[in-house]
């Protein structure tokens, strides 16, 4: 078969110059291996951050936004005019969600909902000796909150049920507890923004693994918090929702906003700092990978060019004995492709081994993140992508020298 003879010649060329073939391969191998490692690490980090964000935030948070951005009375008085208002101040309105408990109960009925936890939360000060520590107290139905966050598992000492039997009990974040130097059983004074004091008892310590939660938050019974804030039993400032499908939350948040008129914040918005790096990291992977592959491509282009120059006499005699231009192109292009396939295969194997090694490396992010080893994502599609990149690069890099080879004038060479 016509392709068969070109393949045979190409194979012989590759096998007789094993070292040169290997060097050409290594360029591709290195590029692909690095690509695999980088994308596995970066996607792993991204996923880990996303999971952490999802884990410890509500999918949707409904609350009353204190805003200065509402239509002024002038708009009603002069509707046809162009009104400009400076320095609008927020109204002195209540920060609760009207009929909050009702709304929460309604939402809970939806089949797509995993759980709903209405809460009353407030900034407070913890008094440890003369120094006040600021933090946040969330008055909840602790069983509902457990449904959202699997709180029971996160309790490091003490237990969750004690909160139900201790009206003035609190569950404290572990970093906050450490800063305040308190443990289960200790009592501590809490001061509200309006100046009320309450002595509370620590019945449990929890840890989410995230600084912004563990260093700031406390859980208490809803009734106690309503009491110290001097509000009634239906006073609710937030509704936290978790859905069965986290991606669906992004749409549902908008639905809820339209339905009830309160500000809704989805988990992506709440963790935008966490997730901002995603796009940048992805962009970096692509740029570095392309660079590596372009360099590998240049390497192959060089080697194939040299090959063609070295083989000019052979090409001339092949043409003399009747090989057409396309046959010559095939001979050299096939060599490039084989180098590409073998190089890419070796690349993804090495990439996998390196990724595996990395994934068992210990990694300590301190209190900021709860992670023990480097997060790596193993996904077959990256490996497939790596193969495709490698082979495409070699085809592109090998084509031009191959074409050059086919255009060689045999007469000039044969005449010497």
């Amino acid at each position: 078969m016509k392709l068969g003879i070109s393949l045979q010649i190409a194979k012989t060329h590759l096998l007789t110059k094993k070292r040169q073939t290997l060097i050409a391969m290594l360029g591709v191998t290195f590029g692909i291996a690095m690509f695999i490692v980088m994308i596995s690490v970066i996607k792993g980090v991204n996923k880990f951050l996303e999971d952490s964000a999802l884990d410890s935030s509500p999918h949707i948070r409904i609350y009353k936004e204190i805003t200065s951005n509402h239509p002024s009375i002038i708009e009603d008085a002069n509707p046809s005019n162009f009104n400009i208002i400076y320095h609008q101040l927020p109204k002195n309105e209540l920060i609760n969600i009207k009929n909050g408990l009702q709304i929460a109960a309604n939402i809970e009925k939806e089949p797509t909902i995993l759980g709903v936890s209405p809460q009353i939360s407030s900034q407070v000060f913890f008094n440890k000796g003369p120094v006040p520590f600021s933090g946040q107290i969330a008055g909840v139905d602790v069983l509902k909150e457990d449904k959202l966050y699997d709180l029971k598992k996160r309790v490091k000492s003490g237990n969750l049920e004690s909160l139900l039997s201790t009206p003035n009990g609190i569950l404290m974040g572990k970093v906050l507890a450490r800063n305040l130097n308190v443990k289960v059983g200790d009592k501590i004074t809490v001061t509200t923004p309006t100046g009320n004091l309450k002595l509370v008892k620590i019945v449990g310590i929890f840890g989410f693994g995230i600084q912004t939660v563990d260093g700031v938050k406390c859980y208490a019974n809803m009734s106690m918090v309503q009491e110290i804030l001097q509000k009634d039993k239906s006073f609710v400032t937030d509704i936290h929702i978790k859905m069965k499908d986290s991606q669906a939350a992004l749409k549902y948040a908008k639905v809820l906003k339209n339905q009830y008129g309160y500000k809704t914040q989805d988990w992506a918005e709440a963790n935008s700092a966490f997730l901002a790096g995603d796009k940048i990291r992805n962009g970096m992977v692509i740029m570095v990978s392309i660079t590596l592959l372009v360099v590998a491509g240049f390497g192959i282009y060089n080697i194939m060019n040299m090959n063609v120059i070295n083989k000019m006499k052979d090409i001339a005699i092949l043409k003399a004995t009747g090989f057409a231009g396309n046959d010559i192109v095939s001979i050299f292009l096939i060599q490039s492709i084989i180098i590409g396939i073998l190089g890419a295969l070796l690349g993804i194997i090495i990439g996998f081994c390196l990724s595996y090694l990395l994934s068992s490396m210990p990694f300590d992010a301190g209190d900021f993140l709860d992670i023990k080893t480097f997060p790596i994502l193993f996904e077959p599609k990256y490996y497939g992508l790596g193969m495709i990149f490698g082979i495409t690069t070699t085809i592109l890099a090998g084509y031009m020298p191959a074409r050059k080879a086919s255009k060689i004038d045999p007469v000039a060479i044969l005449r010497g």
Binding site: T12, A316, A320, G322, G325, V411
Partner: protein, 243 residues
């Protein structure tokens, strides 16, 4: 009256039906070089070659004989005039068409053997036949072996060509030129790189090919003994055929 019928004279006198006697016809071939300035290297060349003829193309250096040979080889298509081989008009065909023609009907032996160094002698001989694809791989291997036998190189068939001596390589090159049983074998100073003994061997092989296999040989040569042993000498000078 008894008529002495001699096979050879019958062949020469009476045209055989169905087999063309004329294998090559060159008509009014003109060629110019343009560097460093316009120079006419071939002036109105016309000649014919017959089947089974052993032709020598001779002349001083620079007379244009190699240039003419490469036009006849179909590898050089930059010329004015007409070239016909085996009754087919070759002038005006594309490179790929000419390559296919060369593959089937022509064989080449150059001053330098031009064997592919990574392949064995046997593989080198097989290559043009594998390209032609007329026979199976096994058949081609057998035929290649036969051709090597013709040039007394069958014992070296599986040796890598780079490991053979100059004379041996040239003989393998001849075997390669013969593998597709071409109508015409063209040689550009085939004995130019060989010593006396090897030159004689090559000459004998060529004569045998021409007279026993009825294949035409057109060889450019500087070797006077080579030329003397041929059937016809075409002498060139200054781009023209003078005899």
């Amino acid at each position: 009256m008894l008529i002495n019928i001699n096979r050879k004279s019958v062949e020469n006198e009476i045209p055989l039906l169905g087999v063309e006697r004329l294998v090559l016809q060159a008509t009014n071939i003109n060629k110019y070089f343009y560097e460093p300035e316009k120079f006419q290297v071939l002036k109105n060349i016309s000649f014919e070659a017959n089947r089974g003829e052993f032709l020598a193309l001779v002349g001083k250096s620079g007379c244009g004989k190699s240039t003419l040979l490469y036009i006849l080889s179909t590898m050089d298509t930059t010329y004015d005039g007409k070239l016909t081989m085996n009754g087919e008009r070759l002038t005006g065909r594309t490179q790929d068409q000419l390559a296919a023609f060369r593959n089937e009907h022509l064989g080449f032996v150059f001053q330098f053997h031009f064997l592919l160094p990574e392949f064995t002698a046997l593989q080198n001989v097989m290559l043009p036949a594998l390209k032609l694809g007329k026979y199976s791989s096994k058949e081609i291997e057998e035929r290649a072996y036969q051709k090597l036998k013709l040039v007394d190189m069958q014992d070296h068939a599986l040796k890598q060509s780079a490991k053979l001596s100059g004379g041996q390589q040239q003989r393998v090159a001849i075997a390669r030129a013969l593998i597709n049983d071409p109508t015409i074998i063209m040689g550009d100073e085939p004995t130019g790189n060989l010593d006396r003994k090897n030159s004689e061997v090559v000459f004998e092989i060529f004569k045998q090919i021409a007279h026993e296999n009825n294949q035409t040989i057109i060889a450019v040569t500087h070797d006077p003994d080579f030329a003397k042993g041929s059937d016809r000498i075409i002498e060139m000078s200054d781009g023209q055929i003078i005899s």
